[in-house]
């Protein structure tokens, strides 16, 4: 490499350095005193990406006992008990186990095996009640439930994750098995990420393992031939 080249390279580096400095000056974020606060929502959105609007959850429970009777929705063929069978949708009850027989004698996992597979339970060793609270366990979307998305970040997650925001709390604690058809319906991003990675894994290994094995085999044959010749 010649003299010229080195000088040229040095010049490039200097230009690069100046560009970086310029970028630091121009692109640094505005300081707080310069922030334009048009509304509280705007400032709120500076700190997290969820909308800050929760109308969809703001469904107050009925005054009378909350039998949310949507007749088409039936969860399973056999009901747990005659009283329970009247409750078709349990997502907005103050006691989600209202009328379910033998509830007191069974562990949570017995009836909710899928919910016991999340990392909080299997790895961090949390018990269900650390999040779901004491009796009665409210349905998630009951208006006063501590796990209602309006407040779960403040009432539940931030007990352990200091400073949890509502968008953090939109983490799906009980995620569906990522490759399942259920995940495709309820959490398609996870579903496609899973199958994409599986595809990558299969293609890479399915090509390279036989490839390396065959290379080894052919080289062995060649080697044996050489030994024979000697």
């Amino acid at each position: 490499m010649n003299e010229n080249y080195f000088r040229w390279r040095q010049r490039c580096l200097i230009v690069l350095f100046i560009l970086m400095l310029a970028e630091l000056i121009v692109v640094t974020s505005t300081v707080f005193s310069q922030e334009e606060v048009a509304s509280a929502i705007r400032r709120y959105k500076g700190y997290e990406s969820s909308t800050g609007y929760y109308e969809e959850f703001e469904v107050k429970p009925n005054r009378i006992r909350p039998f949310v009777g949507v007749s088409e929705v039936k969860k399973s063929v056999f009901s747990y008990s005659p009283a329970a069978s009247e409750v078709r949708v349990r997502t907005r009850l103050s006691d989600s186990h209202y009328g379910i027989r033998f509830y007191e004698n069974l562990s949570c996992q017995y009836c909710h095996p899928a919910e016991a597979m999340d990392i909080h339970t299997t790895r961090a060793n949390l018990s269900c009640r650390q999040c779901h609270g004491a009796e009665p366990i409210a349905s998630i979307e009951h208006y006063y439930s501590s796990l209602n998305p309006i407040r779960k970040h403040a009432y539940v997650c931030s007990k352990c994750h200091e400073g949890a925001s509502a968008s953090f709390a939109s983490y799906i604690v009980h995620e569906p098995a990522p490759g399942s058809p259920e995940a495709r319906k309820t959490f398609s991003e996870l579903y496609y990420a899973y199958w994409f990675m599986m595809f990558l894994l299969t293609v890479t290994l399915a090509f390279f393992i036989p490839h390396s094995f065959l290379v080894g085999l052919r080289e062995l044959i060649k080697q044996i031939g050489k030994w024979r010749n000697q």
């Binding site: 991003e189 990675m197 080894g216």
Partner: protein, 276 residues
């Protein structure tokens, strides 16, 4: 007759990068597997070595940071390696690691050769699988780095993205890690150590040299090119000293043992893998 002429293949900085990557990769796979399998007895044992589950993740985060720094350093190193005055030759010439059409021809020829049809392709400096090894890091490491940072700082991440992104990040991190670990511990180790041409160990990445006769056999186009230019004399090197060889043999074989140990136990305990 034993060939003793050796020529240089890897520079010291390239070998240092490889060494750093190797060391950090092994630590990451051990601590990562400890965490992935924490529900099993074996996972507990692995974590125990690092001082428990929490410490294992601490080490995992720290070494991850070193890996990212190494990767960025490597990019800067590349910018310096490129000959900007002759960009075409530097990027697409035979000494470059960038894949080109020649690799596709080599691949199809190699496949025919594997099944006993036709001759061995005349590889130049880098074979296509060496190029794949190199670029594999370029897709794996950034993916692991980005999802890893997201999981280390979940609250910060959620200032920019909804929380369900963490579910996806955790899935991608684990799946990509499993892919990388199985590729390195099966394919890369086999190619580097076990196949007859490199058994018991391909020393090029540690000593920096290759034996001329071997290189002529495996990469004839490269040696021919060097001979045409009369560059062979220039890159003749000293064979590594005996104690240095002992050191890298011990290091190489302990890495293999560790890798195979993790791989086999990973397969045995694979029912404990939770991607979610």
């Amino acid at each position: 007759m034993i060939e003793t002429t050796v020529i240089k293949r890897f520079s010291l900085s390239e070998r240092l990068f490889h060494f750093l990557l190797m060391l950090s990769f092994l630590i990451q796979s051990a601590t990562g597997f400890g965490r992935l399998f924490i529900n099993s007895k074996w996972g507990e044992k692995v974590c125990y070595v690092f001082g428990g589950y929490e410490n294992a993740s601490l080490i995992h985060h720290f070494v991850g940071g070193i890996m990212i720094a190494g990767f960025l350093l490597h990019i800067i190193f590349l910018l310096f390696k490129i000959n900007w005055l002759d960009l075409r030759q530097s990027l697409f010439g035979p000494d470059s690691l960038i894949p080109n059409f020649q690799d596709i021809r080599h691949l199809s020829r190699q496949i025919r050769w594997l099944f006993g049809v036709g001759d061995h392709p005349r590889f130049d400096r880098w074979t296509y699988w060496e190029k794949f090894d190199y670029w594999g890091v370029f897709w794996g490491l950034p993916l692991l780095a980005i999802t890893g940072i997201m999981l280390i700082y979940p609250l910060w991440t959620c200032r920019f993205a909804p929380g369900w992104i963490l579910n996806v990040a955790a899935l991608l991190h684990r799946a990509e890690a499993i892919l990388a670990v199985s590729y390195i511990f099966i394919v890369h180790f086999f190619i580097g150590h076990l196949r007859p041409a490199s058994f018991p160990m391909n020393e090029a990445m540690f000593s920096g040299n290759v034996v001329l006769g071997q290189a002529t056999e495996e990469k004839p186009a490269w040696i021919e090119r060097l001979k045409m230019k009369g560059a062979i004399e220039k890159i003749k090197a000293q064979p590594p000293s005996q104690w240095f060889r002992v050191i890298y043999y011990v290091f190489g074989y302990s890495s293999i043992l560790l890798g195979v140990y993790l791989l086999i136990n990973g397969i045995i305990y694979s029912r404990y893998i939770r991607l979610h």
